[in-house]
């Protein structure tokens, strides 16, 4: 009996495993190069940003070619998401949530353009083009200067107007009983 148990434990814990994971022996370790290629999400401190940089002056033409058809020449005309303006509108009867009026981090703009834009050709832009478009949209919102270089080093330092506009989830925020009052016992 004992020996059976020992053999079973040996199979589970002692036999060499082919993979990287300790208990089930699955998976392999990705190479640093593989991780670099996959690791495209840009956090708010911008540390994953690729080297490079551009300005609104350069990005203007890229925006006109790749973005304006959906977002409008000035970023306000649509037909799809409005990117520019809407300042002071968040408390109004018609809030306009744009990059300028609503988005808390500039890194989000680079990250999203890079991963998902243009809608019909996602992932087709070079990182230099993404820097240029990012700079131009920030410029249209009055957040950076036309000649200002937006780069791996500077993007995370851009202070977005609505940076402090977000709060933690406070729910539950209703007591749930409302005008109907407390439930009465079942009547059948």
């Amino acid at each position: 009996m004992h020996s059976v148990l020992v053999v079973a434990l040996a199979i589970i814990y002692i036999s060499p495993v082919s993979g990287q994971s300790p208990t089930y022996g699955v998976g392999r370790e990705p190479s640093p190069q593989e991780i670099r290629v996959w690791d495209i999400a840009i956090g708010p401190d911008g540390k994953e940003l690729p080297e490079g940089g551009s300005t609104a002056a350069i990005g203007r033409n890229v925006y006109a070619a790749k973005c304006a058809a959906c977002h409008g020449k000035g970023g306000k005309e649509g037909p799809y998401d409005v990117l520019v303006g809407g300042f002071q509108s968040l408390t109004s009867a018609r809030p306009v949530k744009t990059v300028g009026s609503y988005w808390p981090y500039a890194t989000t703009l680079w990250d999203y353009i890079n991963r998902a834009m243009p809608f019909q050709a996602p992932g087709s832009l070079s990182s230099q083009e993404v820097y240029g478009i990012t700079a131009y949209i920030l410029y249209l919102n009055g957040i950076v200067q036309e000649s200002e270089t937006i780069s791996a080093q500077t993007l995370a330092r851009v202070r977005m107007p609505n940076r402090d506009g977000f709060v933690a989830d406070p729910r539950p925020d209703t007591n749930g009983l409302g005008k109907a009052g407390r439930a009465k016992p079942a009547k059948r």
Binding site: Y24, V26, P30, E34, V167, R171, N175
Partner: protein, 419 residues
């Protein structure tokens, strides 16, 4: 209307027409159960024709009866790839949504992913970064759990005035399936989360490369890395071959087609958790990471667009669910909220799952309003719309879990109202 706007509407209209044509005549008629009005007629006794000839032969993959016409309906969105479809809740039975009718929300269309080529990377603040094949994930200890998934935008058209006519449009962005997969905690333990790892960035392999930040605590608690749905592989539109299932939380965080999980020390503030899926308050601030879907219920029969053919008995039926656990109680009012009676909860009553409720009712032919209200295991009671608006105003967009009212007219027609 500018040129662009006209083009947009035109594009949408063409898309919608194409979609509508594909659906056939399903939406031309009423949403009411056509069998409700049927009575057994007097006729000479005969045996059914179906007993006089052989039926269809056996087949490899079943289809529903040709007489059943319930289908998902598409929202009016500018594109068909960043769009959503509603589950026909008025036709649903029990608590499981057929996989083919599970609501959809895609941000860049449905990718075609070969499970023999798809891989999952787990990296970041871990001791042992991993690349796993789908086959390796299938080999790991699996669990099956019944969970609802609700889009946080469910019922978003109903904040200001009754807009959608039926329950498919008002509440059809929730569905419930049995999901099979590996607890995410198992894989995170295999990778070995390092000190400081507090969030996970989950990334999909779709054209939107959908990305959300999720607290590690929830991942270690009950998130599933799912590959099965209702006894078979995930449907492509539900994330085939791998997706996250996050019990009780908003659907958009449950990343489909998941290809990468990065353990990090802070949320990454992606577009879908800043620009979208945040809840704007009247003071101009916005709530973020509003993950939990609070308790909600809706009467599915009778509901908007249906017609009661005559006075008499009807069983009021509906669905209730809560992101905070199990539904403890559902009450039904058949007089516009003056009196409430406990509905019967149909078994099983499961945490984070749709729960079916039933309540016998005899309609006397007079105009009235039907409502349901649920209470969950935390004691939270589903609020009225007025309570929600008082707290959140009219522009928070997401997370409308208000009590739904259906008005029955003297003619028996049922419509969506605010009461």
């Amino acid at each position: 209307m500018g040129v662009r706007e006209r083009e947009r509407v035109g594009r949408h209209r063409r898309g919608f027409l194409r979609y509508g044509a594909a659906l056939g005549a399903a939406f031309v008629g009423s949403h009411a159960d056509p069998l409700y009005a049927q009575r057994p007629e007097n006729s000479s006794p005969t045996l059914a024709d179906s007993t006089k000839k052989l039926g269809a032969p056996v087949g490899p993959y079943g289809e529903r009866a040709r007489f059943e016409t319930a289908v998902r309906r598409q929202a009016k969105t500018p594109t068909n790839e960043s769009s959503w479809t509603f589950t026909p809740l008025e036709d649903s039975r029990g608590i499981i949504t057929p996989s083919a009718l599970h609501f959809e929300r895609h941000h860049g269309g449905i990718p075609i992913l070969d499970p023999a080529k798809h891989k999952l990377m787990i990296h970041g603040l871990v001791e042992r970064p991993l690349v796993l094949t789908v086959g390796e994930i299938h080999r790991l200890p699996a669990v099956s759990r019944i969970y609802f998934i609700e889009c946080s935008g469910n019922t978003l058209t109903e904040w200001e005035k009754p807009t959608e006519s039926g329950v498919q449009g008002t509440h059809g962005l929730t569905s419930c399936s049995e999901w099979t997969g590996v607890p995410l905690s198992l894989l995170l333990i295999e990778a070995g989360v390092q000190n400081g790892g507090t969030w996970i960035v989950a990334e999909g392999a779709d054209a939107a490369v959908m990305t959300r930040s999720i607290p590690l605590e929830k991942a270690m608690d009950d998130i599933l890395l799912a590959y099965g749905q209702n006894g078979e592989a995930l449907r492509p539109e539900q994330g085939y071959p791998l997706r996250l299932v996050i019990p009780g939380w908003e659907g958009s965080a449950q990343v489909k087609w998941v290809r990468r999980l990065k353990v990090v020390d802070k949320p990454y503030m992606t577009r879908e958790e800043t620009s979208k899926y945040t809840d704007l308050m009247p003071d101009g601030t916005a709530r973020r990471f509003t993950f939990v879907m609070e308790a909600k219920s809706v009467i599915t029969t009778p509901s908007g667009d249906q017609r009661l053919p005559s006075v008499g008995f009807y069983e009021i039926r509906g669905l209730a669910w809560s992101g905070r656990g199990a539904v403890r109680r559902v009450e039904v009012s058949t007089d516009g909220g003056r009196n409430w009676s406990d509905a019967r909860l149909e078994e099983p009553v499961l945490r984070h799952a749709h729960t079916r409720f039933c309540h016998p009712w005899r309609w006397d032919g007079r105009e009235t309003i039907l409502q349901s209200r649920c209470t969950d295991e935390s004691g939270y009671v589903q609020p009225t719309r007025e309570e929600l608006v008082k707290q959140r105003g009219l522009h928070s967009y997401y997370h409308n879990n208000a009590i739904q009212s259906w008005k029955v007219s003297a003619s028996g027609s049922v419509r969506n109202v605010h009461a």
